[in-house]
Symmetry: C2
Subunit: 222 residues, 2 copies
DNA sequence: CCAGGTTTTCGCCTATCGGTCGAAAACGTG
DNA sequence: CACGTTTTCGACCGATAGGCGAAAACCTGG
């Protein structure tokens, strides 16, 4: 029962970790989590853990990542961990306990147990799903400019994406919608950027955008 | 620790189930599985379970599906199940115990517990991954004709796919390779079909074929 | 051995999609 | 009001997906 909570902050994809005070693996950084209660399923449990240990009630998305069960993954008796991927939109800055902080997933500090591998898996899952689902909504604030969205995707994917192409691809899939509003240009000037949102009701992951589609729906009646 | 083992048989996607002899849910159909041993991880465990209970050593692919943990999913004390998706290539016909058989995933008999939902999840996962990964290799025999492959994809996806398009898409991704051999036409005649295989070394799932790719690798030196 | 039926293969056409670029729009500053 | 800046938009092009039909290659029956 662990969660890799990811957020784009300061232009890089970061994960929330807390520093262990006690052995084993004292002073190493660890993913938040905890045991499963008697009257909840694993997803309810991880949400409870996150709400307890750190102030994260604003998770925009939570999904199962994988079960990690190597007998040697932690010292002592075997612990089977159900790992989750959690996402926080970029516009909020959760207040976290003093032992907890954010770290770029590509430059992790010394981590406890197999938590580094779990972070990598989370990162990869996110990158994949950004391509073939609408998961981007979970990284973005309610309203955003295209360049802000571009920065989010670039950080999460690990490479620059073209703003033009990003806007076209997402729009063509029917995910993006202009709000009508604009944002003031910075001190250096520039054209005011239009604001967009993910279309209402798309705030949950939809089916992947598949190739090898069903044969042409030949606009048949009934 | 359950597995939905899927195979295309007789033109439809089927799942391996065994009929419960005892309560609870006697005479209902159930997914194979069992408890986790002390010295194995969950994947080793599910492979052991499958090899014990039924003669399935020929799994072409096994992956974690999801954890099912609803406290009410089974009567009595709560049981957390790690569910797997297993695949068997279409050319083998495992010998199974007398209480075990195959059932079309779209026409399941009365199932035990939440196993119907698990089967649906397995079906959906397979259909998705066929689109954006090379997972097709796990359904197909070592060599096959394009029409045979088309039948496999159609059965797994639930709709007809075009043989022309299927061949082109898979070839363009570099997954398909002609063996040079052909197969004798049936009694009705017809042009002999060429045999193909999935390219060697691609017998494991590769990265998804993503959109929003990295910027053009501009053929730079070094 | 030829006509007709069958199945596969292949090339062509078209629409869409993804990637890139550059011009134009819309702002600020000096 | 010229200039720098940032965003937006249109245009182009190659790659991809989907569809169609002709041609290839085989069988059987007459």
């Amino acid at each position: 029962m662990l969660a890799a909570v990811l957020q784009v902050r300061a232009g890089s994809l970061q994960v929330m970790l807390w520093e262990r005070a006690r052995e084993p693996h004292a002073h190493r950084w660890s993913l938040p989590g905890g045991g499963l209660g008697g009257d909840e399923d694993v997803e309810a449990s991880i949400r409870r853990q996150l709400a307890e240990k750190v102030d994260v009630r604003q998770l925009s998305h939570v999904e199962q990542l994988a079960v990690f069960s190597n007998p040697a993954r932690v010292p002592g008796p075997r612990v089977v961990a159900t790992a989750f991927l959690g996402l926080v939109p970029s516009h909020i800055d959760p207040v976290v306990p003093s032992d907890t902080g954010w770290h770029p997933v590509d430059a992790l500090p010394a981590t406890a147990f197999d938590h580094e591998a779990i972070c990598r898996r989370a990162r990869n899952r996110l990158a994949s799903k950004l391509s073939y689902t609408n998961l981007g909504f979970a990284l973005a604030p309610p309203e955003f400019t295209i360049s802000a969205l571009r920065a989010l995707y670039s950080a999460a994917l690990g490479y620059k994406v073209s703003a033009t192409n990003l806007q076209r691809v997402l729009s063509r899939r029917g995910l993006l919608e202009p709000t009508g509003g604009t944002v003031q240009p910075g001190p250096a000037g520039g054209r005011p950027a239009a604001l967009f949102r993910f279309v209402s009701g798309e705030m949950r992951v939809t089916d992947p955008f598949a190739v090898l589609r069903p044969p042409a729906a030949r606009s048949l009646g009934s």
